[in-house]
Subunit: 321 residues, 2 copies
């Protein structure tokens, strides 16, 4: 696709009011990208409004402007930026076909599955959308100050799990280096987004980890509601737990089965070493995801979920062995 920077520059020259929209279930990349772009545009005198259909997670509250996101739909803005959202449905209730016809929509994203919606789209297979925003800021000639750099580096750090995902390249590190030189405090960002687990969360993780079961490459654990309650924790506390379990050297495939509230069934998180595709299993049970990280939700009890799921996963391992 051709480089859309000249067109973005032209659109911005004629516009005063800008709307930036982040995707539902916001993460550090969609929020950091939105805030980074917002501060860069404000330094040019633009009026920027931030929107997201869901609340911003607590661990991102340290970002300048994190409290500004609203759920208000597009109004009289002259440009709409959609960040890190691979299709309009990812904007949730904030997608407004009419408003999106009225103003030019700029779609910036790093997901190769992006549907290329919008009047201008720039989809690059980088490790984060924040890096595409960095390209826009540089290409358009906006200023890269400490606030902008902090927000963008947060996008890189969260989407690469601290430079640990396989798509972290030399280019990713160079972008991160540039942002640190512009004043972004890497250690503070890392501490804010990774090093803050509640005491009750850590104790709950302990209980789950010590009860893990393993058979021929398959590692699994259950998280019954009663255990959550015993530690005064909510389902939020299980975030990251299956990733951590999957660091087990003996695990080819890792499963966390979490009992959902209100008898809604069981939420299943799946992780696999390279060479497996757990998204196919997740899909067969009505879920989805990536080959190495997928999930699904099953009706019924933890016991029933195990009986349905574990044999399928064991078969996957046996097939490869």
């Amino acid at each position: 696709m051709s480089n859309p920077l000249p067109e973005i520059r032209r659109l911005l020259e004629g516009a005063k009011r800008v709307l930036i929209v982040s995707h539902v279930s916001p993460d550090g990349d969609t929020v950091g990208s939105a805030l980074g772009l917002a501060w860069a545009l404000r330094a040019e005198g633009k009026e920027v409004r931030l929107a997201c259909a869901d609340p911003i997670p607590l661990e991102l509250a340290f970002l300048p402007g994190a409290h500004e996101f609203s759920t208000r739909r597009a109004g009289d803005e002259e440009i709409i930026f959609c960040l890190d959202a691979s299709d309009p449905a990812r904007l949730g209730a904030l997608y407004d076909a009419e408003a999106f016809q009225r103003a030019p929509v700029v779609n910036l994203d790093h997901h190769i599955t992006n549907t290329l919606y919008g009047d201008i789209h720039w989809v690059l297979p980088l490790a984060s959308t924040a890096e595409i925003v960095l390209e826009v800021i540089r290409g358009v000639g906006l200023s890269l100050d400490r606030a902008v750099a902090t927000c963008l580096l947060t996008g890189i750090v969260t989407d690469t799990r601290g430079f640990r995902t396989p798509n972290t390249t030399a280019e990713t590190l160079r972008h991160a280096c540039d942002l640190m030189e512009a004043g972004a405090p890497l250690a503070e960002i890392t501490e804010a987004v990774f090093d803050h687990r509640a005491l009750r969360t850590l104790r709950l993780w302990g209980a789950v980890l010590s009860s893990m079961e393993w058979e021929e490459g398959l590692l699994w654990a259950e998280l019954p509601l009663a255990l959550l309650e015993a530690y005064g924790a909510t389902s939020e506390a299980s975030k990251g737990l299956v990733n951590f379990m999957s660091t087990c050297a003996e695990a080819e495939i890792t499963v966390l089965l979490r009992e959902m509230e209100g008898g809604q069934g069981v939420d299943v998180g799946l992780r696999a070493r390279p060479g497996y595709d757990v998204s196919a299993v997740a899909l067969a049970f009505g879920g989805g995801g990536h080959p190495q990280a997928a999930g699904c939700q099953l009706r019924g009890s933890l016991q029933e979920a195990k009986e349905r799921l574990l044999p399928a996963l064991k078969a996957l391992i046996a097939q490869k062995a």
Copy 2:
């Protein structure tokens, strides 16, 4: 201190046999630095021998040459490099005053507490010794191939806990970027050094995490020998545990008290949020370290160690509050 590169270059020109020594309780930085330098020198036709008083940890076995380290003391080598060792005592039984008089000793280190021993010393406050070796390789004009880059990037990654320590700078990221461009596989390194915990280690961590205690900012846990034995684990399994505990949001200071084998007393790991200096406490108990990460060993039982140590740490927190 003056740049010693010309002298290192001159020494290497006249030498054929090189000894590289890593420090006791070897970590990824001392091992990665040694191997990186070894492969760079071998590409120049040097005969390089690697030595370390202690065994190389399993998670570093993936590094090319990791199996080559021996405990044999200096022989007829014409240069001795000591890497990441702040004083000769850190070389353990491999320190040999006589041999170290016979051949020129080059001391490369990033610890500012380095005693500046050796005929040539180059101590820079970088995030890792691997980066100083990178400077030497570039300065002397040695080749930076994939094997060298892989070993050096492992040094950076392990000493910064994957770019998460506060001393990770833009320069650190630039060095890491350069090493990736030279072929170092960051994702493989990260997976090897961080994402491989034995099942019994993870279960043991679970037991310790679920038993953590907390009082007014102080988080602590005990690791009795009996617990290690119950999980079929060795003291090696506790590596990294106090770091993980210290991600607790409510913890100002974190302590892990590990009962040592053979009635040798208690090994204490200390971690603190910025603003504290736990190395002063560790020093008062005969240990040492950095303000945010320190350690010491106490005689007596776990109970006695707690009684001596915890009040001192609580006082530190109360003092700051």
